[in-house]
Amino acid sequence: MIAPLLEVRGLGVQYGLGGGWLGPGTRRLQALQDVDLVVPEGRSVGIVGESGCGKSTLARAILGLAKPSAGDIRWRGWTVDSADRARMRDMRRGLQVVFQDPFGSLDPRMTAGDSVREALDALEDTGVEAECRRRVEAALVEVGLDAGFASRYPHELSGGQCQRVAIARATVVRPRLLICDEAVSALDVSVQAQIVNLLHDLSRRHGMALLFISHNLAVVRHLCEDVVVLYLGRVVERATRDALFTSPRHPYTRALLAAVPEPDPRLASRVVAATVTEEVTRTPPGAGGCAFAPRCAHAIDRCHGERPPLEVAGAEHLVACHRWRESASA
């Protein structure tokens, strides 16, 4: 069997909290725990959840920017290990990222062309100068910027144009997987649609997989074939797009979907009715029980004492809830 492009098994990430002048703190925040994730070649996978659920930490761990405390990350079946330089280089080229802030991700002193060129020079053994320039131009044209943009600086560009440059910089080396961490969240609605379409076209054209991290469920529904829902660092539900959006099983997923206001006054009355009462409370690491139980309308004693494992709730559908059968019909 061919190994999937990216495979994450039992991933845990902890951050140290506090500390201060007396030395490092002993309190730790479990940002991610027991996270499993598979991204096959060419597949688009969405990661959704609210602030603090660990979705950006997941991206950072995959990119090697946050150190896992447990579990492993495999790139094409090979466990990521910074000691193996040749393979790290292969992964760095095959795995690229676009972040939320389009201005923050570009060097203000470099032209758009130089920013794209830098990625090319760093990740490939570039040879002929003319060929490099042609590829930089082609990358900019592919993201919808004409070649004249190569000589512009970030301050001369709009947010949407900067994000296109960031995408050109990430895709000039033809990565196999593009991680998008809230890549369209800072953009205006009309520009957001342009970038969503661009990501869709690029992934189709080159068979490039997407790991699309977003709090915007409607964008994820539009762009992703598989969806993973995170709640306080754990996967609570994982399913194909159709299964997740037509028959969500976890009470949190349902609350999340119900809370999204739809741009249609005929559907609007349900919004106010569907609120979750309490706000997120973090239970200390190691505490038993389901993390969502304090906010869950369906919670019973068992939910507070015993953590529900991910179980099969349908074809390609996993849910971590003791009561998904009962609550789904409620």
């Binding site: 609210e50 205006d188 009309s190 969503v196 379409n197 206001p261 006054p265 106010v272």
Partner: protein, 326 residues
């Protein structure tokens, strides 16, 4: 029946003096808000939607100035002194902003901040003001309001802070609340709570101007919608009609470019090509013409006026036919 508008904005413009010359942020906007009504102002970054209302309240940056007229129950606001405007703010018109952390003062207790307006203006004594603060927190769904009064802003979550900011805005019983992107910084489940609080306030007769880019939020709360583009209102209509059959090509494109959670899924979202004009760019004709699929020569030459058609006004030479369904 009282038909005098609560807020009557006529031909209001906002200009800023900058190093690159005068920037026209808002151009000739007219808009009425009736008592108890919720009007949503929709637009993208730089469309002038916030500056329009900051101008009404005299809160523009030092290099900005308002021209034209904005009347609050017949009383002119433009050109009033800071002292006169200050007396109106909080008691007659209140404002809630996007970031609740910068609305609240970090080193003062919640109770002190809530009661400040009441006690400083001599509206209530300290004990009564405190009681009013407890009631205000209760009405925005903050659990255990009594003990919250002695807490500091950092002890509250983002959603709670925004609800405190709303309680603070409403504590002196204003007739009009201007809410500028009040839920943009919040998670969706928290956003739903805050929208619930605004709904409840509306049912008690409060008029709300909801400034937002989120069409979902608009659909849930607004009676009427004004769509802004490049500092102008390009369309106003009753909310249900606007969503059902937008008349301005920009409104239609905006609605079509939003991905949805229900219904059929298009392969691609509808794109509005190009970018909104920057404030210092002067575009002849209709400001949307360079991006408009149905622009004609007339559109590029002459700016269309906002035709007042009763419930619906549209500033377009070639509005979409009514009955047109997206």
């Amino acid at each position: 029946m009282n038909t005098q508008p609560l807020l009557d904005i006529r031909d209001l413009g906002v200009e800023f003096d900058t190093a690159d010359g005068t920037v026209q942020a808002v151009t000739g906007v007219s808009l009425k808000v009736m008592a108890g009504e919720c009007v949503a102002i929709v637009g993208e970054s730089g469309s002038g939607k916030s500056q329009l209302f900051l101008a009404c309240l005299g809160l523009l940056a030092a290099n900005g100035r308002a021209v034209g007229s904005a009347r609050l129950v017949g009383e002119e606001l433009v050109g009033r002194t800071e002292r006169e405007l200050c007396a109106l703010r909080g008691t007659r018109v209140a404002m809630v902003f996007q970031d609740p952390m910068s609305t609240l003062t970090p080193h003062l207790r919640i109770g002190r901040q809530l009661t400040e307006l009441l006690t400083d203006r001599g509206l209530l004594g300290a004990a009564e003001a405190r009681q009013r603060a407890v009631a205000a927190l209760h009405s925005v769904g903050i659990p255990d309001p009594e003990s919250r009064l002695d807490q500091y802003p950092h002890e509250l979550s983002g959603g709670q802070r925004q609800r405190v900011a709303i309680a603070m805005a409403l504590i002196a019983g204003p007739e009009l609340l201007i809410a500028d992107e009040p839920t943009t910084a919040l998670d969706v489940t928290v956003q739903a709570q805050v929208l619930g609080v605004l709904h409840a306030a509306r049912e008690k007769g409060l008029a709300i101007v909801m400034i937002t880019h989120d069409l979902g939020v608009v659909a849930g709360i607004a009676d009427r919608v004004a769509v802004m583009y490049a500092g102008r209102i390009v369309e106003t209509a009753d909310a249900a009609e606007l969503f059902e059959a937008p008349a301005h090509p920009y409104t239609a494109a905006l609605l079509a470019s939003v991905p949805r959670l229900s219904g059929s899924q298009p392969e691609r979202l509808v794109n509005i090509e190009g970018q909104p004009p920057r404030p210092y760019e002067k575009v002849p004709g209709c400001p949307f013409a360079p991006r408009c699929p149905s622009a004609r020569d007339l559109c590029r030459a002459t700016e269309p006026a906002l035709h007042d058609g009763g419930n619906r006004s549209v500033a377009c030479h070639a509005p979409l036919p009514q009955g047109w369904v997206r």
